[in-house]
Symmetry: C2
Subunit: 314 residues, 2 copies
């Protein structure tokens, strides 16, 4: 079984590619829940939904989140009665939050709810929240400490990041199905998707059992760099690298993950970095990493899987 | 100040007529909250919304509830993820429930929330929940005891009613603004709207302070019969009358309210009942009571107000 660690859009796209490359019994997509929050009394799981909608081919490709062909009558009406509208919830998307919230309150686990939603959306590959327990990314900025969505959506990542922590991560267990898989030794490769390393992947790796799995020497780990020629495809990764003094290109990302990763998939545009990454002890594969279509995502997934195969053969 | 006691559609229509006949400082619309319930984790107040939407001229006239031009994408998506769809919530309507729920949880009172919503919908007349406390209509049927909406919407009023009670009513106080108005002696007339006497008006009258006000001799009370020629314009009033042995026409309604009412507005079609109602000690005014347009509602409101004037002159 291959584990893919995924967050938002970039993660969802590579997850789609991996789901095209591997049958359901060979892939398990582990999704960040550090972005989850309570909003309008609803439990919102933005990354789970982005992955689920993308695999169901229901996602809004232009917007990067939410559903294609969405309508916004709820949001317009909410503005009229003075509700909070900084976090946009489409009319159809809202149903997922309402029903998830109902089930969470009825003490169903997030992983069971997600599995059921996926079944209803005809998503056959396993999409598993990293943990069923409460884990919340909090951002220390030059304007104080902020809840993740306050930083990310309400403040549009404007405050400069001084640090991050992942509330609840230390005490969190992986979701039961994930724990079983790990304990049974069923994981034979890990792909870290090109999601934001600090905002999307770090909350997953902050869960001790998942960190041990990735840090351990038993399972090869391939990461796909989210940075192409010194730029993030989407989102604040580059801005955050600046703020944290974490470099300005893929070399900074490589340094950030350090010994957690065994092999790197980098973009053709970063080929010049290849030799230095290899000399630091990594296997490197350069290819096209921009996933503008499912075909591109499939090709990138195959590249990552081939690198995993190489590493297994070491 | 005239108090109008109102429930669903019939009540909302006469409330609209009264709002056309009287300036905001002369009318206070007291609305049933016995229909309120928690659904999908939301606090839903069907009668308040029907009155508010009707006064705002945003109501769906064909459907009898909800907003005109409503969309149903939330509901369709909820069905897809396996949520409960027996109680239909439109995309725009939903915003009112979500924002109301947020404020109720933040310990704002239902009457304050309603006043704010009305302001935002440009409703100038006071729409006041009968109480800010919890009051829930429960229906004893031949199939056991049911929550109101389980009976009314989910079971479409099919079980036969054996009895009703109004949970929380005995301990309920009228909303603060209403209490003040009553205590200051500012009420100089009461109109019981042609809402269902058992389902819409009884929960209001089950609040001790409101019952005392209506039963007392100080303030004249006019009621508009919800039955025309032995039929309810809408809803299960006739079916319930049968089940409770409460007669089969406006005479049964008159008997039901008994000494609470001083004057009756009945339909022209029930003119034959006029003499017997008068001989029982009531003032009676027969007119067109079907409110198919706001003009009809205004005419009926004026008739009810003229009867109140007559009673004041007694």
């Amino acid at each position: 079984m291959i584990l893919a660690l995924a967050g938002g859009v970039g993660g969802a796209r590579l997850a789609q590619g991996l789901a095209l490359a591997l049958p359901p019994e060979r892939l398990c997509i582990v999704v960040n829940v550090g972005d989850d929050f309570e909003h309008l009394g609803l439990h919102v799981s933005p990354d789970i939904d982005t992955v689920m909608y993308t695999l169901a081919r229901l996602h809004n490709t232009e917007q990067g989140w939410g559903l294609a062909g969405e309508t916004w009558n709820f949001m317009d009406a909410l503005a009229r009665v003075g509700g909070e509208t900084w976090f946009r919830l489409g009319d159809r998307d809202l149903a997922v939050h309402v029903e998830r919230t109902r089930r969470v309150r009825a003490c169903e686990s997030l992983s069971k709810i997600t599995a059921d939603f996926c079944r209803r959306f005809n998503v056959l590959h396993a999409v598993i929240p990293a943990t069923d327990q409460r884990l919340r990314t909090r951002v220390t900025t030059d304007e104080g400490e902020l809840d993740f969505q306050d930083y990310f959506v309400r403040r549009r990542c404007e405050p400069a990041i001084r640090g991050l922590h992942y509330d609840g991560a230390h005490a969190a267990q992986p979701s039961p199905m994930l724990s079983e898989l790990i304990d049974s030794g069923g994981v034979d490769g890990i792909v870290i998707c090109p999601s934001n390393p600090w905002l999307s992947v770090a909350p997953i790796l902050a869960i001790p059992a998942l960190h041990r799995l990735v840090a351990g020497r038993e399972v090869p780990v391939v990461a796909v760099s989210p940075i192409i020629a010194g730029r993030a495809v989407k989102g604040p990764a580059r801005k955050i690298m600046n703020e944290l003094g974490a470099g300005k290109d893929t070399a900074g990302i490589v340094a950030h993950y350090g010994a957690l990763v065994d092999g790197w998939v980098i973009d053709n545009k970063d080929l010049s970095l290849s030799a230095s990454i290899e000399s630091a002890g990594y296997r490197v594969l350069a290819t096209e990493t921009l996933m503008s279509t499912p075909q591109h995502a499939l090709a990138l997934a195959k590249a990552a899987l081939s690198l995993l195969d190489l590493l297994k053969g070491r």
